[in-house]
């Protein structure tokens, strides 16, 4: 159902008139009916009281002379009073003396005379009167009168009111629908005009007033308002134009600022690039430092081998110096002196007789000597080969980094180990190996070697710095769960304090007097470049440390 306030104004006016009319009608009807009911009740009281008085007066003799029959006859006259349903006469003592009951015994008499007066109860009017004679109360009469008549009358009133209501409502609807036009028509026209304006956005439209009443004023004000809107529109347009100009200038300013900013950003980017390059160079220098370390190792090893070469060479030269070749020269000289009588000399001369035995001894001696020297020379050769091997190892790792090669992990570790073998021996570090079976992998060999050499060298340093009697280094290889290769370098050296575990990988951090703080940093970087990681574990100072290098396992393609 639509609410009243949403109704069209003409309907609203009709409802107003009809509502006002019907409300006043209903109220006046209620007033009339109420008054009538009151009057009817009053007249009923009056009438029934009179009836009771007459009946009471007529029944005095019957009461005085105890003639109940006569009293009952008297009450029988109430047949003609259709509203009196019950009548009772009580004697002076309050006993029931005579009764009348229209409904033949269905009604109950009050057993005692009710108090004098009247009462409306349960749709009945009860009237009770004292019967007096000669100044004395000789009895009571009680009449029980139905209000049916009154109710019938009210019912008729209500019907009449309803009929009048409907009639007057119809009349007021017809009348108001005509009269309300004078008010609603101009308002509806105004509403239409407003609607048209809002749809067409044409504020040039004007309305024409019909009368000079309040609606006429409304029309005038409406026109004034339209005029103002037009002016305001123009003002807004102007302001808008200005604003656009402002926005344009501000945009160009912003553009300039933006350009500046972009330039700054570019500069900053360039600075960043430079920084990256510097860092890269630093990395390269670190790697060079690593290379130098390898070179140091190589030279050390070479030096060691050279030492034994030196010994071997000296041995050989000493042997040669002690050689019995001079004895042979003397025998040859003796034989030259006795060239003419060689046979006599050998056969008869005492010196000559010893020559064949001497030669035999000499030849045996020389043969031994040759064998010794050959042996030394072979050793020498072997040591030279060793040097060659060391140098060729160095050469093989000195190549350009970033090139992946097929490498056997065990060989790689052994190479790294051999680069450190001299210092490991010197510091009495026992080395054990625990290799898992890992097929050859593809890896940047030089980076891996650099890391391993560094780790082994660190382990050796850690062992050397500790007071441990049995210095020990173990290298393990494992295939990781997530398709990785793990190389564990485990030492029982000085260990790492817990708070150093991560710092040791940062640039410039070192605990060694001669350290430069590049080693582990560049190792970690190299591990990252391999696509892997380098992690340190230690339970604290004196407990040793474990470094784990982990990189993705890329099996080498099968060689056809």
């Amino acid at each position: 159902m639509r609410r009243y306030k949403d109704l069209a104004i003409n309907n609203k006016l009709t409802v107003l008139v009809v509502l006002a009319g019907s409300v006043s009608l209903v109220l006046s009807c209620i007033a009339f009916v109420t008054n009538d009911v009151r009057m009817i009740r009053l007249s009923m009281i009056d009438q029934i009281s009179t009836l009771a008085e007459v009946l009471g007066s007529n029944s005095t003799a019957a009461l005085s002379f105890r003639d109940a029959e006569t009293a009952t006859e008297l009450l029988l006259s109430l047949e003609k009073q259709p509203n009196v349903d019950l009548a009772v006469i009580y004697d002076a003592a309050g006993n029931v003396f005579a009764t009348y009951d229209r409904s033949q015994g269905r009604q109950l008499f009050p057993p005692e005379p009710p108090r004098a007066g009247y009462e409306f109860a349960g749709g009945y009017l009860d009237v009770s009167r004292r019967i007096e004679h000669d100044g004395q109360v000789i009895g009571t009469i009680y009449l029980h009168t139905s209000m049916r008549e009154l109710y019938d009358q009210i019912f008729w009133y209500v019907n009449i009111v309803a009929a009048v209501m409907i009639g007057s409502l119809l009349a007021s609807i017809v009348l108001s629908s005509r009269v309300q036009r004078a008010i609603s028509q101009p308002i509806l026209e105004l509403a239409n005009a407003a609607n048209r304006i809002s749809i067409e956005s044409d504020y040039g439209l004007r309305v024409e007033k019909i009368a000079d009443d309040e609606l006429g004023i409304l029309y005038d004000q409406f026109n004034v308002m339209l005029e103002q809107i037009q002016q305001r529109d123009a003002a807004i347009q102007r302001a808008n134009d200005e604003l656009e100009a402002k926005v344009e200038s501000r945009t160009s300013q912003l553009q300039k600022a933006n350009d500046t900013l972009q330039r700054e950003v570019a500069e900053r980017r360039r600075a960043e690039t430079e920084l990256a390059e510097a860092q890269h160079e630093l990395m390269a220098s670190a790697r060079r430092a690593g290379m130098a370390e390898i070179a140091t190792g190589v030279l050390h090893n070479v030096g060691n081998v050279l030492n034994s070469i030196n010994v071997s060479a000296r041995l050989a030269s000493d042997r040669m110096r002690q050689s019995k070749v001079g004895d042979l020269t003397r025998v040859v000289k003796l034989l030259d002196e006795h060239a003419a009588d060689l046979a006599t000399f050998i056969g008869h001369d005492p010196k000559g007789k010893r020559i064949p035995a001497f030669l035999d001894l000499l030849s045996t001696h020389l043969a031994d000597e040759r064998a010794d020297i050959l042996k030394e020379l072979e050793l020498l050769n072997a040591k030279i080969d060793h040097i060659k091997a060391i140098i060729s190892t160095q050469q093989s790792y000195a190549g350009v980094s970033g090139v992946t090669e097929t490498v056997d992990i065990a060989t790689l570790i052994d190479d790294a180990m051999s680069l450190n073998s001299a210092s490991l021996d010197r510091h009495h570090v026992a080395v054990s190996r625990d290799y898992a079976h890992i097929p050859p992998v593809k890896i940047d060999k030089q980076k891996a070697l650099q890391i391993l050499v560094n780790l082994i060298k660190n382990a050796k340093d850690a062992c050397a710095a500790s007071s441990q009697n049995r210095r020990h280094l173990e290298i393990r290889t494992r295939l990781g769960e997530a398709g990785t290769v793990q190389i564990h370098v485990v030492d029982n050296g000085v260990g790492i304090p817990r708070d150093h575990l991560t710092r040791i990988f940062s640039h410039g951090f070192t605990t060694k007097k001669t350290g430069h703080g590049f080693g582990l940093h560049s190792c970690a970087n190299a591990a990252q470049e391999l696509g892997g990681s380098l992690v340190a574990f230690s339970d604290g100072p004196g407990t040793g440390a474990t470094f784990v290098l982990e990189f993705p396992y890329e099996p080498a393609e099968a060689i056809v």
């Binding site: 009179t50 009836l51 005085s64 105890r66 003639d67 029959e69 006569t70 006859e73 006259s77 003609k80």
Partner: protein
């Protein structure tokens, strides 16, 4: 008001019907034994009540304060009951005084004189004669008393105490009997009136 007049009319008709019924039932006389106690009481009550339903001429009572005298002639059990009523009640605002007349010589006119059954019929006749000129409501309780010149006579009908009224005798004695009282009474005396 029409309703009231209608009611009055109906009441009158009702009373007449009642009277008719009572007259037809006259002959049937019930056992007096069962009634005897109540009968005396009722007779005393009725005698007292007659005082307010009958109007005496103005000269009967000399002053406002003069008591209302009820005379009793003859020995009767009604008297003590009547004396009891007289002690408690008033008639028209007057005290009630009971006068007992032991003999016909002692008999004097009172507003009401009750001649009991105890008095023989000859003496009753003399008494009636002696009171004939006075404004006295003469009440009896003997058969044919009203017809013989008494104004009121008690009779028992269908085990009920009723009374006959000789209207002519009342008029002769200057007494105005209320219509209400008449409506309850058996009206007699036409024969007696013509005989007088």
């Amino acid at each position: 008001m029409s309703a009231v007049s209608r009611l009055v009319r109906v009441t009158t008709i009702g009373m007449l019907v009642c009277l008719l019924v009572c007259l037809t039932a006259d002959s049937s006389r019930a056992q007096p034994g069962s009634v005897i106690n109540r009968e005396n009481t009722l007779k005393a009550l009725f005698l007292y009540n007659f005082g307010s339903y009958v109007e005496w001429p103005a000269g009967v009572f000399a002053s406002e304060n003069e008591p209302f005298e009820i005379g009793v002639f003859g020995q009767t059990p009604v008297e003590p009951v009547l004396r009891e009523i007289a002690a408690n009640k008033k008639i028209n605002g007057r005290r009630i005084v009971i006068r007992r007349f032991a003999s016909i010589e002692a008999l004097r006119p009172c507003p009401i004189v009750f001649i009991s059954d105890d008095v023989d019929s000859t003496t009753q006749e003399i008494a009636l004669q002696s009171l004939a000129g006075d404004h006295v409501l003469v009440v009896g309780e003997s058969a044919g008393f009203a017809q013989r010149g008494g104004v009121v006579n008690f009779v028992v009908e269908s085990n009920k105490l009723r009374f006959q009224i000789n209207v002519g005798a009342a008029r002769r004695r200057g007494l105005k009997i209320s219509a209400k009282l008449l409506s309850l009474a058996r009206i007699v005396g036409a024969a007696s009136a013509t005989a007088e």
